[in-house]
Subunit: 125 residues, 2 copies
DNA sequence: ATGAGTACTTACCTAAAAGTAAGTGCTTAC
DNA sequence: GTAAGCACTTACTTTTAGGTAAGTACTCAT
């Protein structure tokens, strides 16, 4: 009834759906990808991250950092300076997300542009 | 203090963070990307989608479909058969998400593999 | 000694997302 | 005529993500 116009078979489709759901299971939520991106860009301390990822509260950031550390996306380095400096660093594993992050950022940029255009159109109505 | 080991300047970094947050604003949540992927793979009806995206309830699916239609990711085609068939179709705009979806799926697949391996390791402890 | 900064934690609260269960109005099949 | 399928909707509840505000323990600068 509905033609299967896809190159991939049904199984491969079902699989990629499953994989996307799996990925979203670890990366889902409002802050995980932004925080990872922030740290991937360069190692940072708590307050720097909180400042860059605008809108995140210290509580939520602490939560996310713990979660990301547990899932091996970031490393929490404690330097024995006085007072101790704590620097969050991206692991090699989080670098496997670079393509995802790049595509998402590119898409977000284009989407923003599209929204901006449709807004200015509506302004004339 | 912390060296900026990135090729991109600070501004470009801040921008990509912003874009990712923007993207997540429309695509965030548990079901949006899975539902889009499902429909991008081929046009489908309500019950087919509900069956493929396992775990989604009819209420949530109806909600997501409305939202995705409003945001121009999908089209709701009503065919005047008896009874009417309603077929959800991906728009050209949702095709701009193909790269994002592909990267996410690839990553999810590798992540699943990694988890599987670390699980079997733990089984011997 | 007062205030500011770092890196959080704690307690509390609310709003939104999601789940459950059932119902509706239609049609076709048995 | 009874049941089942389609495409939902409605009402209700639960979950959980996230926000607010304040506090803590430390140190450094003035």
């Amino acid at each position: 009834m509905i033609p299967d116009d896809n190159i991939l078979g049904k199984e491969a489709c079902a699989d990629s759906l499953k994989y996307v759901i799996d990925a979203l299971y670890v990366l889902g939520g409002k802050w995980k990808l932004p925080v990872i991106l922030c740290i991937v860009q360069s190692s940072k301390r708590f307050n720097e991250i909180q400042h860059e990822v605008s809108g995140i509260s210290p509580k939520v950031l602490a939560q996310e950092l713990k979660d990301l550390e547990m899932n091996d996306f970031i490393r929490r380095n404690v330097y024995p300076t006085t007072p101790v400096s704590i620097i969050y660093e991206a692991t090699e594993y989080s670098l496997t997300l670079k393509n995802v992050l790049r595509e998402l950022s590119t898409w977000g940029e284009q989407h923003r542009e599209r929204i901006r255009r449709s807004m200015s159109k509506k302004a004339y109505l």
